[in-house]
């Protein structure tokens, strides 16, 4: 109890300084949580686009980005005919710009694709998809920002398309995207006879290994990955994840420097007290424990406040219409635990030098210190 009080004494004595230090960790944790959650949400959304009613994705081997992947049309046809395959859908991804909208994601899909058949159609008839080459279906948010409705004409890139339907999906990328018939998309993006990926659903999930081996044998230039494998190994996802953690880490580093500064000041202003504790039998470890305890309290308080603040911020972002579907407010326990642990480690690291300094204080000299 007294040990705890010794830890809390200095924090209470310099409340403003302590609050600033806690705020540093709070904002660092909130920043890390927000950045990582948003990027993980984005990755999750992209993964769900690929795994829509499928569990395996086939694409060109060794491409750095799926937008550069070229899968021949005959591969899709052959794979569809394999007995262990329930269905295989070629999908072509493309990005175009429109006036005032620098990035619009286009999906070239077949009429049997789950994105068309299983989505909630707000306007239009799903059976009309691919009936005309210039007919496109817009995601609800795309329709909103393009100010388009059923049967209106929209300018996408260098061409004008006729809106034959508007659909609603929970996926932000899809909801802000344009769905074209595969043939139209191939012509539009000058990728005749190819798709970016083939999404595959097997009749029996246990055949995944056999299927992957078949792809490897029949199409050496292609690779088949299960959805979870793809999410784990896709270089773009890895880069995004690493970037998110790096940005969050920088935030925590700044927070840690704040803690270090506070703890250095704390040690210098209580050097006489540290000497008194030494004279009364406190060991180096016990002195260090007081200093580390102080920084741990700052870190834990900052981390808790940061989690609350970050969560509120994520919910606020979710309410912004333009970000609808992009922000995943589900905090994964592992992420929360990692952020808490990192905040604690940052605090401890920030207290390292001050603690060592405090442990080395020579009581006889410190008692002369005024």
């Amino acid at each position: 109890m007294i040990f705890l009080k010794l830890i809390m004494t200095n924090l209470r004595r310099h409340r403003v300084r302590s609050l600033i230090s806690v705020a540093g960790i709070t904002f660092s944790v909130a920043a890390m949580l927000t950045v990582v959650t948003i990027l993980q949400g984005a990755i999750g959304m992209f993964s769900r686009i690929l795994s829509n009613d499928s569990e395996i994705i086939v694409f060109e081997r060794d491409v750095s980005d799926l937008f550069f992947s070229n899968v021949p049309a005959d591969a899709a046809a052959q794979i569809s005919s394999w007995p262990l395959v329930a269905h295989a859908n070629p999908v072509l991804f493309g990005i175009v710009s429109s006036e005032g909208h620098p990035i619009i994601t286009c999906f070239g899909v077949t009429s049997t694709d789950a994105r068309i058949q299983k989505a909630e159609w707000l306007q239009g008839d799903r059976n009309s998809f691919a009936q005309r080459s210039d007919g496109v279906v817009l995601g609800a948010r795309a329709a909103e920002f393009l100010s388009a409705s059923l049967n209106s004409q929209v300018q996408i890139g260098h061409a004008t398309f006729h809106v034959i339907g508007i659909l609603k999906t929970a996926n932000g990328f899809e909801d802000g995207g344009v769905f074209m018939p595969l043939g139209s998309a191939q012509a539009f993006f000058h990728k005749e006879g190819t798709s970016s990926v083939i999404t595959v659903k097997l009749r029996n999930k246990d055949d995944a290994a056999t299927f992957k081996e078949m792809v490897r044998t029949k199409f050496p230039n292609l690779i088949a990955l299960e959805d979870t494998e793809f999410t784990r190994s896709y270089s773009q996802f890895r880069i995004l994840t690493a970037t998110a953690w790096a940005v969050g880490g920088c935030g925590l580093l700044l927070g840690g420097l704040g803690v270090a500064n506070t703890m250095i000041m704390s040690v210098f202003t209580r050097i006489r007290e540290i000497a008194i504790l030494r004279v009364n039998g406190f060991s180096h470890t016990q002195i260090g424990g007081v200093i580390f305890g102080e920084s741990a309290v700052v870190s834990v308080l900052g981390a808790i406040a940061g989690l609350l603040f970050g969560t509120c911020f994520l919910y606020a972002l979710k309410l912004i219409p333009a970000l609808d579907g992009y922000v995943d407010t589900n905090l994964h326990p592992l992420l929360v635990l990692t952020v808490l642990l990192l905040a604690l480690l940052t605090g401890v690291a920030g207290a390292l030098y001050p603690a060592v300094y405090a442990m080395r204080v020579r009581a006889v000299e410190a008692l002369r210190f005024e």
Binding site: I2, T9, R12, I276, N280, L367
Partner: protein, 234 residues
Amino acid sequence: MKSAAESNGNRRIVLHAENLWKSYDEGTVAVLNGVDIECFAGRSVALCGPSGCGKSTLLHLFAGLDFPDRGKVWVNGAEIGPRSNLLQLLRHEVGFVFQLHNLIPDLTLAENCLIPTVAAGIDRRTAKARLLELAERTGLTRRLDHRIQKLSGGERQRTALCRALMNRPKILLADEPTGSLDEQSSSMVFDLLLDLVAAEGVTLLMATHDRSLATRCDRLVEMHDGKIHEYAHA
């Protein structure tokens, strides 16, 4: 040369310094110049002398807070040096009272007194019982939950005395314990100090400027220019 553990008559030597030399600022400020001193168990010894004569330094060397440039220090027969078990010394063998009370202002009187027991890992019940015993003897029972800022100078110094005796040390080192008090408080604290050391059988080595107080100790030692000049029996 006497061994530190050697007895003199019926009295055991508990503090023993032999040919102590100590200087500061890379040898430019000489503080102790060959000090020899012995203190016997259960006796009170006053160290008198002008400021800067080395009284505090000598006390620091006996508490293991500093080490001599030359010479040897024994406490309870064990030589004190950088490799000694100084925690054992500070936790159980030696109590220290300073001129300034050196209490932690944000803690209560009781919490300040309990600090040595926390350091030594003494269980709370034993520590609390000892605290109540000392508070009773020093008249601080009603002030236990008061913060240090609310105590008078005399009460603060009595608190410091309680804290120094919490772990039942057999040696009490006091550096001008009444130096910051007015005459009345000084006399009261000193009476209490002598009563306590007598009741607990503690050996007292006290640095003081106050000759009238010093003469009430069992022995009076004069220090000048870092040397013991005379032993005077009070």
